[in-house]
């Protein structure tokens, strides 16, 4: 039972990270209709920029994440302007390859600046809590709480604020949104910036319990894609539920079946779900 509680919290923390990363990706898909394969690279870059502010400039931890998130927002906007905007009328194959090119570029860039060595990010958050006999580190509690807060803020932003509502409007009907005066181009920039910002928060949170390396985004990338497909492309609740569900499925199968199955479970679930519901669990009506 202790093991179960322990793994449940580990799963929740992992789920928070998956969720933050997946939401950005699903937003980008909803607005730009592209699977952004460079998302993992943005996550990696976010981790390094956080590291830079924290370790090199000595900014406090949470502030460092905040500043890095803003920096990455700008990077995301730049990515939209330089790469995806010129390709807005191309089929999705072109976006995919362009995104792979961007991914290669970001990875090399990180290696040139910070080197190939693993780096460790220290945080002021230490110690651990005892919950029902399990030993949960404070960092994981911080991850779970921050993820929930950020998700709440994001929902508020999209449902209530003017800028956020434009995102949803574009997702629902691009032409209609343009007719009422929403600039799709602005919204695209906002969305990619936002997705990079969320990925950075995820990266900043997870870095202290893992290591930084130029390829740290690769493993996350595939899983996050599994999550958004599972939840239904472009669906926010889908990404949230999918993120937590997959993270918990992963820790639990690793614990009670085997680590090999744990690694593959995201994809097995994905295949199974799509075999039954080809458009994912929470898809909205598809535009034709």
């Amino acid at each position: 039972m202790t093991l179960f509680i322990q793994q449940l919290f580990n799963g929740l923390a992992l789920g928070g990270v998956y969720c933050l990363a997946a939401i950005g990706l699903t937003l980008v898909f909803g607005v730009l209709r592209i699977p952004n394969l460079a998302h993992g690279a943005l996550y990696m870059l976010g981790a390094y920029v956080t590291y830079f502010f924290l370790a090199t400039l000595g900014v406090p931890y949470l502030a460092a994440i905040g500043i890095a998130a803003l920096v990455l927002f700008v990077v995301g906007v730049g990515l939209e302007r330089l790469v995806f905007h010129p390709l807005r009328n191309s089929p999705h194959t072109h976006h995919m390859i362009a995104a792979v090119g961007a991914m290669f570029f970001f990875q090399s860039l990180a290696q040139v600046i910070w080197g190939a060595d693993f780096r460790r990010m220290d945080t002021p958050i230490t110690g651990s809590l005892h919950i029902l006999g399990a030993e949960i580190s404070a960092q994981r509690i911080v991850i779970i709480i921050t993820a929930v807060v950020v998700l709440a803020l994001l929902t508020w932003f999209i449902k209530r604020s003017i800028h956020g509502q434009t995102i949803e409007a574009i997702e629902q009907d691009r032409t209609g949104a343009a007719l009422v005066g929403i600039n799709p181009s602005m919204v695209s920039m906002l969305t990619l910036g936002l997705s990079a910002l969320l990925a950075t928060i995820a990266a900043g949170l997870v870095s202290p319990i893992n290591l930084l390396s130029p390829t740290m985004g690769d493993a996350l990338n595939l899983k996050v894609f599994a999550i958004i497909i599972l939840g239904g492309l472009g669906s926010l609740p889908g990404a949230i539920i999918g993120g937590f569900a997959l993270a918990i499925a992963e820790t639990m199968t690793s614990t009670y079946i085997s680590s090999a199955v744990g690694e593959a479970v995201a994809f097995i679930v994905l295949v199974a779900v799509l075999a039954i519901r080809p458009t994912g669990l929470f898809t909205k009506a598809v535009q034709r």
Binding site: L3, Q6, Q7, N10, G11, A13, L14, V17, Q107, S108, Q111, G115, A116, D117, F118, R120, S128, E135, S137, R140, V206, I209, N210, L211, S213, P214, T215, D218, A219, L220, E250, T251, S254, T255, S258, S259, A260, G262, E263
Partner: protein
């Protein structure tokens, strides 16, 4: 509008297609004209980008240091002074790319020796290095399959990893207990290690838990796998992969209350691990002896030079040190063979070269002999047990045979 004649445009098209193709061929073919006269290229193909980049860079560092030192000392072959050049290519850890790279180094740069630090890559290179192309592969891997292949042009540098299983098991049983949990990495090498340590542990009447191996490179949070391994209530835990994630796993295990012994696979280096976590978390572990614990004639100078080159943050590991020695051995073998372009002769001279290499190049357990299959050996191999007082205790190792 374009109004070229039909014929002309057709020719234009053909020319363009031919041109682009020929251009890219030429771009590639025109690469190397070195290797002539009084310089010789030592080739290196390793992971310089992607997940294995840190490892590949460490190896490269050792090669560069050796080449610099050898050139400063002066290498003379057949009465002529020769400059050694290092040419490195990136293979991203992919065996087929490594083999292409090796072929390129041998063909275009006329490298008589190619260094590779990865068992898969070396196996792929062994398909091509003796036959139509001829070059010596300087193999930095402890997988004995490399020498079992009976490849006449292979030089295997590190000790056979199977030799470690016994002393590691003995130490961990003595300081920990009879029950072992497995939490190694999911790589080619990690899997072989897991198997070797499982066999040895069982042969010593120990109890082995489930295989909890995870891919250290893709796990986002080590807490889950560690919790699972600890749920078996083990007395000893087998860990190991790249140093830094291994250190994190051990730290996490200590945090979750594990107080017994660790067996640390040789890929992870205790001194390098101490750069990412408090050494207190690493105590009661058995692992390979860190480079700075050796007392070979050249160790001290090597460490000084390394600190100059790599900076204070990095510690020297055997990847750097053993490859440093390896290049010195090759250079001496070339001198004795009186040839820079005959790999067979160079290989044949390695045995004699070992006795003649300058003391300054003897850094970490310098080999005293080379087996017929091409394995460099030092009879006095030692491993280290890091005790509760954070002191390294040396434990002698009886080496196993390379044959199956």
């Amino acid at each position: 509008m374009i109004s070229v004649s039909r014929n002309r445009s057709r020719r234009l098209l053909a020319a363009a297609v031919v041109g682009t193709f020929a251009l890219s061929l030429a771009a590639c073919g025109g690469g190397g004209d070195s290797g002539s006269g009084d310089s010789v290229v030592i080739g290196y193909t390793g992971p310089l980008s992607g997940g294995g980049a840190a490892y590949g860079e460490n190896v490269k560092m050792g090669l560069e240091m050796a080449v610099d030192d050898l050139n400063a000392d002066g290498v003379e072959i057949d009465g002529n002074p020769v400059t050694i050049e290092l040419k490195s290519l990136d293979d991203k850890y992919a065996p087929s790319t490594a083999a292409s790279n090796a072929q390129r180094l041998a063909d275009q740069d006329e490298a008589p020796v190619v260094v590779s630090p990865n068992a898969g890559a070396i196996k792929a290179i062994q398909q091509i290095n003796s036959g139509r192309s001829n070059f010596l592969v300087s193999a930095y891997t402890s997988d004995p399959a490399i020498v079992q292949a009976d490849n006449p042009l292979t030089m295997m540098i590190p000790p056979n990893f199977e030799s470690y299983a016994k002393p590691f098991t003995e130490q961990a049983m003595e300081h920990g207990g009879k029950k072992l949990a497995l939490l190694g990495t999911q790589s080619e090498y990690g899997q072989q290690w897991t198997k070797a340590i499982t066999d040895e542990w069982k042969a010593s009447d120990g109890e082995v838990g489930a295989d909890n191996s995870v891919d250290y490179a893709t796990v986002s949070d080590f807490a889950g796998p560690v919790s699972k391994a600890l749920a078996e209530k083990p007395d000893a835990m087998f860990v190991g992969g790249p140093s830094q994630p291994t250190a994190l796993i051990m730290e996490e295990a200590r945090k979750q209350g594990f107080e017994r012994s660790f067996i640390v696979m040789d890929q992870a280096k205790l001194n390098e691990m101490a750069t990412v976590t408090d050494i207190e978390n690493l105590t009661k572990s058995v692992g390979v002896l860190p480079v700075d614990e050796y007392e070979d004639p050249g160790t001290e100078d090597f460490l000084t030079k390394f600190a100059d080159k790599a900076g204070e943050d990095k510690v020297a590991t055997s990847e750097t040190a053993l490859n440093y020695q390896g290049v010195a051995i090759i250079a001496k073998a070339m001198e004795l063979a009186g040839s820079t372009d005959d790999p067979e002769k160079i290989r044949g001279s390695i045995g004699d070269a070992l006795a003649e290499v300058d003391d300054k190049y003897k850094v970490t357990g310098f080999p005293t002999e080379i087996t017929d299959q091409g394995h460099l050996l030092n009879q006095e191999l030692e491993v280290a047990y890091l005790d509760e007082d954070e002191k390294y205790n040396k434990v002698p190792v009886e080496q196993v045979s390379d044959t199956k």
